[in-house]
């Protein structure tokens, strides 16, 4: 390419990227800005981009005067438990699909993927009744058990493709040395598949952390709310305090951003590997 054309191409690329950055960056920036403004400044007819009088009052209210930490604790508990269960089930399912020969193998693989065909809304009525009759209504475990649904299909198929990439000769060598198959799975396969395991874990945790539908239906008492349901409840009050809402939005997003800064690259790579395969 000639020089001017190359320059023009770069200008076009950066112009498009700027538009994207504004569309995607502004909402978050605006929430951050709002969360630090005083009420009059927030509702002023000529809004300011950067707060003139910084205030941390909204954060103070959210952190010390609300149930935010109760919601946070519940969300962390549900997310962690759902992630662990999803990982255990996906490792077993992925290994079976990749390395074992058994009757009904194809049906098993199709069946797991078919879970995605029954999105939450179709299952809420019966699940509500099942959990109620099992005595799990308004118990965090009802949500944990259903949240496995959000990531098990993705997890099993992603790990299956990661198991596929480990050379069979490694397993054979370990078995000649006398290791059992379960031990090879634990000591040979899993350490080699850390990126895959991390991808599945993040996917499962974020899916659970973000879910709104199951907690709203299966939990009722304020002490059992997760973050999404808890903060959605604040906004249905007759007057919304946008300062507090912005502060809680920022507080909810910060862990995701921090997590993403550390592991985002691996996560995107892992998801991409799954997408290319499937």
């Amino acid at each position: 390419m000639t020089r001017p054309r190359k320059a023009l191409r770069l200008v076009l690329i950066y112009a498009t990227l700027t538009v994207l950055v504004v569309i995607y960056g502004f909402p978050l920036f605006w929430a951050l800005s709002t969360s630090l403004k005083t009420l009059p400044e927030m509702m002023a007819s000529a809004p300011t981009l950067i707060p003139r009088n910084l205030t941390f009052a909204h954060y103070y209210d959210v952190i010390l005067r609300s149930n935010f930490f109760v919601f946070l604790k519940n969300s962390l508990y549900v997310g962690a438990a759902a992630t662990v269960i999803t990982l255990i089930l996906s490792i077993g399912a992925g290994y079976s699909m990749s390395r074992l020969r058994f009757r009904g193998k194809q049906a098993f693989g199709l069946g797991i993927m078919a879970v995605y065909l029954f999105p939450g809304i179709l299952l809420v009525v019966p699940l509500f009744k099942v959990m109620a009759s099992a005595g799990l209504y308004d118990n965090l475990w009802s949500v944990i058990l259903t949240h496995v649904m959000l990531a098990l299909p993705f997890g099993s198929w992603t790990l299956r493709s990661f198991f596929d990439t480990v050379p069979v000769s490694l397993e054979e060598a370990a078995r000649i040395d006398g290791a059992s198959r379960l031990r090879t799975l634990w000591q040979i396969y899993l350490p080699l598949m850390r990126p895959g395991l991390a991808t599945v874990a993040i996917f499962a945790f974020v899916a659970s952390w973000n879910d709104f539908l199951f907690p709203v239906i299966l939990l009722s008492s304020p002490a059992n709310q997760t973050i999404p349901v808890g903060i959605a409840g604040w906004t249905s009050a007759y007057s919304i305090n946008w300062g507090q809402v912005s502060a809680v939005s920022v507080l909810t997003v910060v862990p995701v951003v921090v997590l993403f800064a550390f592991v985002g690259r691996y996560f995107v790579a892992g998801m991409s590997a799954g997408a290319v395969k499937g």
Partner: protein, 297 residues
């Protein structure tokens, strides 16, 4: 003891203990509830615990009413509008990020972030921007002399629907872009070089090389996205509660309203079954056909 360890070396036994738990979980949390929803749909809806068989009464009741058909139409419209925004824009963003420019790594790394925000937060961020009293968008439109008086985006049915579609597309386009970019990167660079030597321009390369190559791999993702969109509940519920006057009530919101606002579980179950039979089953058949070719080794 030795017997157990010998058993543990067998494929079928290992599969039982490794894949078995997933089967049990699927049976309890997915298969059993799906069967139950059929059962509830022929039960008396007025009672909560003690139910009586009422045959197809719930179905007739649902099918007779216009709100079911209106919701079905809205569901199709909602899905179509979302797909039309998410897929092309996602692919275009992926094409952009697949090209070579300083800073591309940074963009590729952070692209997925908006998709990972809780939907509740995404909705709140936009509701604040779109707020009719002190919202940033109204201020901007007013300052640019586009409007005289502030707009209430959620007061009119059509604009409410369009706004929710926009916010949902905002959330899902990055996901589409990440998948499309991953697929794009599997195309061998030789293809592009060959095309360039033959004198193809950028548009021709995209149209005749890139798109035909990425489409088959994108098909699966678009397919799953289609199913998710068709049954999507949170963005619509959180932004509009299905209003104003039902104008954003899709079938999933109808199920929720019947079941958990009016406690007419029988009717809600009947709608779920209709959704299952009319949409999910046909999609499942296509899906299994696609998947079967993949699971064969």
């Amino acid at each position: 003891m030795r017997r157990i360890s010998r058993w543990l070396e067998r494929d079928s036994f290992l599969a039982t203990i490794l894949a078995g738990p997933s089967v049990i979980w699927m049976a309890l949390i997915v298969a059993y509830p799906v069967l139950l929803v059929f059962w509830f749909s022929v039960q008396d809806q007025a009672t909560f615990t003690s139910t009586g068989f009422v045959g197809l009464k719930n179905y007739l009741f649902v099918l007779k009413r216009a709100d079911f058909w209106m919701s079905a139409v809205r569901t199709v419209a909602w899905t179509a509008m979302n797909i039309v925004l998410i897929v092309p824009i996602g692919v275009l963003v992926a094409l952009l990020l697949n090209s070579d420019f300083p800073g591309k790594r940074l963009f590729r790394a952070w692209m997925l972030l908006p998709w990972m925000f809780p939907i509740v937060v995404t909705v709140l961020l936009w509701q604040w921007i779109l707020n009719p009293v002190a919202g940033a968008l109204n201020y901007l439109l007013h300052a640019l002399n586009v409007i005289d008086s502030p707009l209430s985006f959620f007061q009119d049915g059509t604009s409410a629907m369009l706004v929710v579609v926009f916010v949902n597309a905002w959330r899902w386009t990055p996901f589409m872009a990440v998948v499309a970019l991953a697929v794009l990167q599997t195309i061998p660079p030789e293809y592009y070089e060959a095309a360039r030597i033959d004198g193809a321009n950028g548009y021709q390369v995209s149209r005749h090389i890139t798109l035909p190559l990425i489409w088959p791999a994108l098909g699966n993702t678009v397919f799953i996205l289609l199913i998710w969109l068709f049954n999507m509940f949170p963005p619509l519920w959180l932004m509009t509660k299905g209003g104003p006057v039902d104008s954003t009530t899709t079938l999933s919101l109808l199920i929720y309203k019947r079941g958990f606002e009016q406690f007419r579980m029988g009717e809600a179950s009947a709608i779920s079954v209709l959704l299952l039979v009319l949409f999910v089953v046909p999609m499942a058949l296509i899906y299994f056909k696609r998947m079967r070719s993949m699971t064969k080794e």
